[in-house]
Amino acid sequence: MTDALWYFGRGAGVSALVLFTLVVVLGIVVRIGRPLPGLPRFTVAAVHRTTSLTALGFLVLHVGTLLFDPYAQLRIFDTVVPFFGAYRPIWQGLGTLALDLVLLLIASSLLRHRIGLRAWRWLHGSAYLCWPVALAHAVGNGTDGTSTWMLGVVGGCVAAVGSALAWRMKIVGNEPETAPVAPPAHLAGLR
């Protein structure tokens, strides 16, 4: 039974990682402001939101099953406060940190209209911290952490986010550069 919990917990964790990677990629695509083939922009935004909730579901399963697994030595306290765990405190702590950030991200997005654009953008930027932290936790903490298939999954996640970011760099910020010109001398008054 405990083995089942252990495998299930890890499986849920990997699923959560892959889904959150998809969330990050979709978030970048929304930011770019272009539609995807067959997906208008508002759909991309909606899938971004829905996937984040699905990913949260898997994350809850991941944490939940490991709470019941004696091998993980996880206490409820460790699920919110990082780095005090009994089993690999640092790597496990990164997972807690990622969970905390996910909760912050989702809560702030649900309250987006209440907290205002500036606050929301600032908080949402923590996604760029949350995701690599989650990746590190997956590699450092998991039993499969450095196995070939796991590294393959991690590599795929990194490639996906990397390409999305590269696309973003290319598209965003290419506004027309209008260098200020002086007013025509004979019409520029007394100056």
């Binding site: 929304v30 930011r31 402001g33 539609p35 208008p40 922009r41 508002f42 935004a45 909606a46 987006r112 209209h113 209440r114 907290i115 205002g116 654009l117 500036r118 929301w120």
Partner: protein, 91 residues
């Protein structure tokens, strides 16, 4: 009095969700920014489109849209029906 869609141009970056959700009222201009189809910068939102307009307001990534109740003769908004918090938004 009618409900109008108001655009905060300092926030709008032409992300383009609004004209997908409200094609009856908005299209995209040459540069991707929302263009009112009837020439009125704050187009009136007829009741059948009310829900779609509310969706657009909620979905705008830049919180750049608001629904306001305005008297028909002028452009002065009387009461905010639904908006993102009004701030002196700065970069």
């Amino acid at each position: 009095m009618s409900t109008r869609l108001a655009i905060d141009w300092t926030r709008c970056e032409g992300r383009g969700l609004c004209h997908e959700l409200l094609p009856e009222l908005l299209t995209a201009d040459d540069w991707g920014y929302p263009l009112s189809r009837n020439g009125d910068p704050s187009p009136r939102v007829p009741s059948p489109l009310r829900e779609h307009a509310e969706q657009a307001v909620l979905d705008c990534p830049r919180l750049a849209l608001r629904l306001i109740d305005a008297p028909d003769a002028q452009e002065v908004p009387q009461r905010r029906v639904m908006d993102a918090p009004a701030r002196h938004a700065r970069r």
